[in-house]
């Protein structure tokens, strides 16, 4: 039975990690450009609602994705208007976005669909389903079909897109000229300005990319993981993604590692319920669920390595005259 256990833990780790990956990469892009993004949770919630609402009304996956990405970008631009253009407090703006999203998605959901804040279920043919058919369940006795098939190939397209995005964000930040500029604007905006580039426009570009990724993360929740939107369905995933980003020291690949670790903890938390570990006894589910937060606090306190944020993070840029 080992292969069944390994395969199902592997598969659920990847499924749980995918939205975290998308959201954490969004955070990496924004924060490396010097803009704190506490609004990840709210943007993901907005996008999840937009995807579910659009997909259930238009009966089209494409419009669902489009709506999610568009709403993610609009929310990002609002954040940019408040703190890049008007140099408002980035933390406060992010908190505001989270509140507005938590309220507005329910208000609109109840007004439009009259189902207590839920959207109507999205038809199976509109939802994103497994790319490769036939691996929906792990097969006892066959390691290949279980671990490789169910574990790795049984997922919907957004799971693979999420991993692709990690590679893309890494390549963009570390290997391209615009990526270098984006990093520079988060470390030393005055120098970027002196080199003749606009700090504001670079930060807006980062925020737009952030909005697209948040949109995909939200769409994943309603088009792939669940079949409809329900109030506050992000349930802290945006903050877990934020924690993963800090745990990954604002770098794409370590952040991916953190997302996978947190996804793994989530995947095993349910399976550990009532299980007696040799020598330890039963580990409370709440402790396993709290581990991402505990690990992040411990890391931030400098007890395991050190987390060094981009230098200009959170500082509004005032143009020199």
């Amino acid at each position: 039975m080992d292969e069944v256990l390994i395969a199902s833990v592997l598969a659920s780790t990847l499924r749980v990690s995918a939205p975290l990956l998308l959201c954490a990469m969004a955070g990496v892009l924004s924060e490396r450009a010097g803009v704190i993004d506490l609004g990840l949770e709210g943007k993901m919630l907005f996008a999840a609602f937009a995807a579910a609402a659009a997909a259930s009304v238009t009966h089209s996956t494409g419009y669902g994705l489009l709506a999610a990405v568009a709403v993610g970008c609009v929310a990002s631009l609002l954040h940019g208007f408040a703190c890049v253009t008007n140099r408002g407090d980035q933390v406060v703006s992010g908190v505001a976005l989270n509140m507005i999203a938590a309220g507005l998605t329910v208000v609109l959901g109840i007004a439009w669909f009259q189902q207590g804040g839920q959207t109507p279920p999205i038809a199976p043919d509109v939802r994103l389903t497994a790319v490769a058919q036939g691996f929906a369940e792990p097969q006892p006795g066959s390691w290949f079909a279980s671990v490789f098939g169910h574990g790795l190939l049984s997922h919907n397209v957004l799971v693979y897109v999420a991993f692709l995005m990690v590679a893309a964000v890494w390549f963009f930040l570390e290997r391209t000229r615009p990526g270098l500029r984006l990093r520079a604007v988060g470390e030393n905006p005055a120098m970027v300005e002196a080199a003749g580039m606009s700090v504001q426009s670079l930060r807006y570009q980062a925020l737009l990319m952030n909005g697209v990724l948040c949109g995909l993360a939200g769409a994943y929740l309603t088009l792939a993981q669940n079949a409809s939107f329900s109030p506050n369905m992000t349930a802290g995933r945006g903050f877990i993604a934020l924690a993963a980003m800090i745990f990954g020291k604002w770098k794409p690949l370590p952040t991916m590692g953190a997302c996978l670790l947190f996804g793994f903890l989530d995947a095993v938390a349910i399976r550990m319920q009532g299980v007696q570990l040799p020598g330890i006894g039963e580990v409370p589910v709440q402790l396993i669920q709290a581990l991402p937060y505990i690990l992040t606090v411990v890391l931030l306190a400098g007890f395991i390595g050190s987390a060094i944020a981009p230098k200009a993070l959170g500082k509004p840029y005032v143009k020199e005259r």
Binding site: V91, V92, G103, V107, I110, Y293
Partner: protein
């Protein structure tokens, strides 16, 4: 950008906040129109539900009590240059503290001894939950915003763990602690009135409101009249200068956060000892975040915080009434309005300042 705008004080603390609030409420009104209701009708029902009856007023003041505590908590931290997003978690811990003491000693002690003990427990547990992030910020260099967010989730997890595994009475299905003894209940206002021979409709409003007002006076005295408060504000506005002047910034961070957390913890008195009479899951229900809106709107001053808390108390109580009254109207509209207020009065607070400066200069020049 142009030179920093100089506005007279009455515009800066009088007109600008009201203007920002008006914009936020205007946008909220637009949302109400989008979902097909008349903002005017919603507003009338809201005000009537919150202020039109003694009972409604009692509910509004009960909500305001909680918001005064969380608002003061945010304000004290802001004066030390810290953004305490952890009110939610500190309030949760305050409730846990109340429940532990009430369940442990409740039946053995009379109310005169019990109630002060509960207040101390709520404050102490809140303090502890804020002091840890403060220590990590001051001595280990981790960012207070991130740490306090993480501590919110940890508090929720801890509360859930305690309720499920320890505090839930054997055989009970619901995730709640046992009921407290009568001596551990903060007396409600209508009970006190009844004892004095008056009759008031029942509402959750209880003596915690008095404690909240005392806390306002304390915070005002602490920040502006005490030497310790001066040191806290010095560190908040100019940490280096304060350090050169012989003030130890680390100790001030710890002190400010401890007071902040203690104030947030007092939510446990209002909600757990005053209303629920038992520990429940998620009893804070976002009040910690409302505190951010309250403090921003109230300009981090006790008087402003009382006014802003009353406004939010009215919004919360009135919002419930509107959702009963109007079809398809949800009380989450209040959360939306709260977010808009944080956006316009907080993140974008100074956006309109240049406009006012222009108008003011034009009026002055014209004279």
């Amino acid at each position: 950008m142009s030179q920093p705008t100089q506005l007279p004080r009455w515009i800066d603390i009088g007109v600008l906040p009201v203007w920002n609030l008006a914009i936020a409420l205007l946008v909220a009104g637009l949302v109400v129109m989008v979902i097909g209701h008349s903002p005017w009708q919603a507003l009338t029902v809201l005000l009537n539900g919150a202020l039109g009856s003694v009972r409604g007023l009692g509910y509004s003041l009960y909500y305001a009590t909680t918001f005064i505590f969380t608002g003061l908590a945010v304000a004290v931290a802001i004066h030390a240059g810290l953004f305490n997003i952890g009110g939610e978690g500190q309030a949760t811990l305050g409730g846990v503290g109340v429940a532990l003491v009430a369940l442990w000693l409740g039946a053995k002690l009379p109310a005169v001894v019990m109630l002060p003990l509960l207040v101390i427990a709520a404050a102490a547990f809140g303090m502890l939950w804020a002091a840890l992030p403060a220590y990590l910020q001051a001595w280990r260099g981790s960012h207070i915003v991130i740490t306090t967010i993480m501590f919110n989730f940890l508090a929720a997890g801890l509360n859930g763990y305690l309720l499920v595994n320890w505090l839930r009475p054997a055989g009970s299905m619901s995730v709640e602690s046992a009921e407290f003894a009568e001596s551990a209940r903060m007396p409600a206002l209508h009970q006190i009135a009844a004892a004095l021979g008056y009759e008031l409709p029942s509402s959750p409003l209880n003596l915690s409101l008095v404690i909240a007002l005392v806390a306002c006076v304390f915070v005002g005295w602490f920040l502006w009249k005490s030497a310790a408060g001066y040191a806290v504000r010095a560190v908040g506005s100019a940490p280096r200068a304060a350090h050169y002047a012989g003030i130890r910034p680390r100790a001030q961070v710890l002190l400010a956060m401890a007071i902040s957390g203690g104030l947030a913890g007092m939510v446990g008195i209002n909600e757990i000892s005053g209303v629920q009479g038992k520990l429940t899951l998620d009893f804070v229900a976002g009040a910690g975040f409302t505190g951010i809106a309250v403090s921003l709107m109230g300009r981090n001053h006790p008087v402003g915080i009382v006014l802003a808390s009353l406004l939010f108390g009215v919004l919360y109580q009135g919002g419930v009434e509107v959702s009963f009254e109007l079809q398809g109207f949800s009380r989450e509209m209040v959360v939306t309005a709260q977010g808009l207020i944080v956006l316009f009065s907080g993140a974008m607070a100074t956006v309109s300042a240049p406009l006012f400066a222009k108008v003011y200069a034009a009026l002055k020049g014209g004279r």
